[in-house]
């Protein structure tokens, strides 16, 4: 049952072939068995999951109308508020913070009868690429537990990969759902900026943050997008577009479509990664795509631009964590300044502190012109280049990372980890929709994905291509061996 798609689970539940309680018990049982070794979850709502399931079963018995997600078990990254539950952001600072309100996303999932299983692990405040920067524990990659799951939405990726949830939500500021999806062999979709409300998502880089779903199959991503991609009056940056509605690949692109590839930007790729990427492009060609070259060489400035903007925004977004109103206040604090200094000293991990300091620096007087303002200008140039590229194509194919998931021992210095974001941050800087899809396996069995960027607000078009790609490939049907006996 756990291997079924969300859509199929939902269909079976509606048809009366399976009860919500059975679904809940199946997934809770898997979590109990598999998660101790993986550490994908920070909290599992055992009691509430059963309650939610029983309520659904009663609704079905009573012939009440059931929502689009009825029977679908969903996991939520622990930087998204669920009323009455803790939102820790994997930070010591918020270890006791109970959210008094639902994120808009959560409200929509409840309205459509999704079953919310629990909260998943992340890098503290979504800052990281390995999920190691969690104050609670690390998360292991289900394909090989010596490897990182990728970050920051590592818990969400691992829980989907290990089939401990049908769908999981993550947040993507610079690749935080796409890198772990690639490392864990699943699919993920970062919608156009503003498509899913950020209300209730703990902000990291507000102009870059976007919530996105993760699942094995694109049809499941489309299903959940129908529920959560709606305008929200509590988020000023929410798009006013009508609710997401899937479109048919045949109707839209049946007569062919154009894929842009920035070939000259791919020259540094390791051979195996390049081979898998080329094969994905060939598949697209076999689906009727015409491949054209696009120039995205400007992306060589993307990582520095991204780290200036996201840290600038983060340094102020995280200023509210001061020990005054909520969160942990340091016991050592005697004066007001000490409340600030020591609470933040004790509450934040190294990476968070590093980014706050960097962000404070790039905004400070005397340096703002050289860093923050210049980065904003470069960001605009990148947007212009993307627009130019999209005038020639319907989507752009791109790698997600240099290679597959690495071990916990590799890559420890922050700078080399920042460089992992080279291929992913462009979509956040420009706000375009992007999906990461499984594109095969490296010779040692590690999964790898690639990305397809879409035009602004062409989320449905992009996902339709993703679904067609999965009809032509079977990478997304493979499962990690570990644990599932």
């Amino acid at each position: 049952m756990h291997s079924l798609s969300a859509c199929e689970l939902h269909r079976r539940f509606i048809a009366g072939e399976v009860s919500a309680r059975e679904i809940a018990d199946t997934f809770l049982d898997r979590i109990r068995r598999l998660d101790p070794a993986l550490g994908a979850y920070l909290e599992v709502f055992e009691e509430s999951v059963v309650e939610q399931a029983d309520r659904l079963d009663r609704k079905r018995q009573g012939k009440e109308s059931l929502g689009l997600l009825a029977g679908v078990p969903i996991a939520i990254k622990d930087n998204i508020n669920i009323k009455g539950e803790k939102t820790t952001c994997a930070s010591k600072f918020l270890e006791n913070f109970v959210a008094p309100f639902d994120a808009t996303l959560i409200r929509r999932i409840r309205e459509e009868d999704g079953i919310i299983l629990g909260k998943t692990n992340l890098d503290e405040f979504a800052m990281g690429t390995t999920c190691e920067n969690s104050s609670a524990h690390i998360t292991r990659n289900p394909w090989n537990t010596n490897n990182v799951p990728g970050g920051s939405s590592g818990g969400s990726a691992a829980t989907v990969a290990a089939e401990m949830a049908s769908i999981a939500f993550g947040s993507d500021t610079g690749g935080s759902i796409r890198l772990p999806a690639s490392f864990c062999g699943i699919s993920s979709f970062k919608p156009t900026y503003g498509r899913i409300s950020r209300y209730g998502l703990v902000a990291f880089g507000s102009s870059l943050d976007q919530i996105g779903p993760m699942a094995y199959r694109c049809e499941d991503l489309e299903r959940i997008m129908q529920v959560v991609a709606v305008p929200c009056e509590k988020d000023s940056t929410s798009l006013p577009d009508p609710a997401f509605s899937p479109i048919s690949f045949e109707k839209r692109f049946g007569d062919g479509f154009t894929v842009g590839v920035p070939w000259q930007f791919l020259e540094g790729l390791p051979n195996e990664t390049r081979a898998l990427f080329d094969r994905a492009v060939e598949t697209l060609t076999s689906m009727g795509a015409k491949v054209v070259e696009v120039d995205l060489s400007i992306l060589k400035y993307a990582v520095s631009t991204y780290y200036i903007i996201c840290t600038a925004e983060a340094s102020t977004n995280l200023a509210r964590f001061d020990g005054i109103r909520y969160g942990v206040r340091s016991d050592r604090a005697q004066t007001l300044d000490e409340v600030y200094d020591l609470s933040r000293e004790d509450g934040f991990g190294d990476e968070v502190k590093r980014r706050i300091m960097l962000g404070t620096f790039v905004l400070s007087s005397g340096y703002q012109d050289a860093y923050y303002r210049k980065a904003q200008k470069v960001r605009q140039l990148i947007i212009n280049k993307f627009n130019e590229a999209f005038s020639k194509c319907d989507c752009i194919a791109f790698p997600t990372s240099l290679g597959g998931a690495f071990t916990f021992e590799e890559k420890k210095d922050p700078l080399s980890l920042y460089l992992e974001d080279l291929y992913t941050v462009g979509a956040n800087l420009t706000g375009v929709p992007v999906m990461a899809l499984p594109s095969g396996f490296l010779s040692d069995g590690r999964p790898l994905g690639f990305q397809l960027f879409g035009k602004q607000r062409h989320d449905a078009e992009l996902l339709s291509i993703g679904r067609a790609f999965q009809e032509a490939t079977d990478y997304h049907t493979k499962r990690p061996k570990g644990g599932d006996k």
Partner: protein
């Protein structure tokens, strides 16, 4: 030391809370005086995951102020984060405007020491207020009811040159806000407060010298005193060849001096940058023009009309129109009785004097315009003398709600002296008792006549109709 060689240069930043129903970026109630932390939600206290959504009503009020001051309402403006840590600031950044404010420029006209003067605005920016710290014996608490309340910060050019000008400017701004009904302008509640920048320079100099900033004052008299104090301090420093350091002060009304808060060295770096949670504020010319229909008659227009329509002096006219409710009161009273001069005099001088000690204006008292009108009518009809009218006015202030007619009725000594036979008798007595004076008058000393009138008034306790007294006195002297 001679202050005459020096010229002060003053600029004002006025913070006016807007009287919208809800806060600037949330639907929380905007109301003063409620129990602490009752007008709050997750947004007001900046819980993680909350986002600001701009209140359109606050934008409309800012536009109205811009239009009323002939500023240029900007069709493209944006909000910025101003970072600083303080417990009353829940996000630890304020959302304000800096580079692209909603209104640029503008001017107002004020009446200063007998002269009309024009002062210029640099900009108007929309921003949210902070909460309030409350200190208890062993701890401090924060009340977030005020956190997020919309404000406009009205920044003047450095175009004022005396404390009186600064006060007149601030009062004129307050009048405009009051007429527009965009702010309660309640100084005690802190909904109208100012920061002032003061520097001095030698007369004839064109460059600005180092300035002091005095923060967060909420009374016109504090503003005036603080400016005077700083001007003196700067001049004294320059005259003794010392330097003025750029610094920020607060005014201490108890010691009547400015207290140093921080020098330029510890100036905070606010790290302004555009707030990514909010879109740029884009308006259409149509939206801006639509607000024009909501503009009422503004203080200056009303001042001009008062001069024209009622024949008041410019000074009187400013006096009435500066305070919207006082001007309303004046116009209501004029409707009751047509002697505009007397109405002006009784409101602006007689009653104003009587209420001065109480620190209120007549419109805040229970005395109604019809009462003042009635009092003036009684004088005009000769029912009471001017002198008794003043005593009646005293009673009106003491016993609010009792009409002047009732007061006169209930007090025998206020009754008009109607017994002409008795008056005649008194007049005759006075004439008889002062033969010398009578003689002098007959020889042409007209001034002595007033003495005799005074004597009669004394014996009638001022209640005799003056024209009757004159007539009877003349008749009586003739017969002598």
């Amino acid at each position: 030391m001679s202050e005459d060689n020096w010229e002060a240069v003053i600029g004002l930043e006025i913070h006016a809370e807007l009287n919208t129903a809800s806060k600037l970026f949330s639907s929380d109630c905007n109301r003063f005086g409620d129990e602490p932390n009752t007008n709050i939600s997750e947004v007001s206290v900046a819980l993680p995951g909350t986002l600001p959504v701009l209140n359109k009503e606050a934008v409309r009020k800012a536009i109205q102020f811009g239009l009323a001051t002939q500023g240029e309402v900007q069709l493209w403006s944006r909000f910025e984060r101003k970072s600083y840590f303080y417990p009353d600031c829940p996000r630890n950044y304020q959302i304000t405007q800096l580079e692209f404010p909603i209104v640029k420029g503008g001017s107002i006209t004020a009446f200063v020491e007998g002269e009309e003067k024009r002062f210029f605005l640099n900009r108007v920016q929309l921003e949210d207020d902070a909460g309030m710290l409350k200190h208890f014996s062993s701890f401090a608490g924060v009340d977030f009811n005020r956190a997020g309340v919309p404000m406009i910060e009205i920044v003047s050019e450095a175009c004022m040159h005396s404390a009186k000008e600064a006060v007149a400017y601030a009062q004129a701004i307050r009048s405009i806000l009051d007429y527009l009904d965009v702010s309660d302008c309640n100084m005690e509640e802190g909904s109208f407060r100012f920061d002032v920048n003061v520097s001095v320079r030698k007369k004839g100099e064109t460059e600005l010298r180092t300035r002091s900033e005095i923060k967060n004052m909420n009374s016109f008299s504090n503003l005036e005193q603080a400016i005077l104090f700083e001007i003196k301090r700067h001049i004294a420093l320059y005259e003794s060849s010392d330097v003025v350091d750029q610094a920020t002060f607060r005014w201490d009304p108890d010691t009547s001096r400015t207290i140093l808060m921080r020098t330029k060295e510890d100036a905070q770096d606010y790290r302004y940058f555009p707030d990514p949670d909010l879109l740029p504020l884009i308006l259409t010319q149509k939206e801006v023009d639509a607000e024009k229909q909501y503009l009422p008659e503004l203080p200056l227009d009303r001042e001009r009309r008062f001069c024209r329509e009622y024949g008041l002096s410019t000074q009187q006219s400013y006096l009435f129109t500066a305070d919207r409710k006082l001007a309303d009161y004046f116009e209501e009273t004029v409707k009751m009785c047509d002697n505009v001069k007397m109405v002006a005099n009784w409101i602006a001088i007689e009653f104003a004097g009587r209420f001065k000690e109480m620190g209120i204006s007549i419109w805040e008292s229970e005395i109604q315009p019809k009462d003042v009108g009635e009092l003036i009518s009684m004088i005009q009809e000769g029912t009471i003398t001017g002198k008794i009218a003043k005593s009646v006015a005293d009673e009106m202030v003491k016993t609010p709600g009792v009409s002047p007619k009732e007061i006169v009725k209930s007090r025998p000594e206020f009754q008009p002296f109607q017994d002409m036979e008795k008056l005649k008798k008194i007049v005759e007595e006075v004439v008889l008792e002062h033969p010398d004076t009578v003689e002098a008058i007959k020889n042409g000393r007209d001034r002595s006549f007033a003495f005799l009138v005074g004597q009669v008034m004394k014996r009638t306790r001022g209640s005799a109709p003056p024209e009757q007294v004159n007539k009877l006195l003349k008749e009586s002297m003739k017969s002598k």
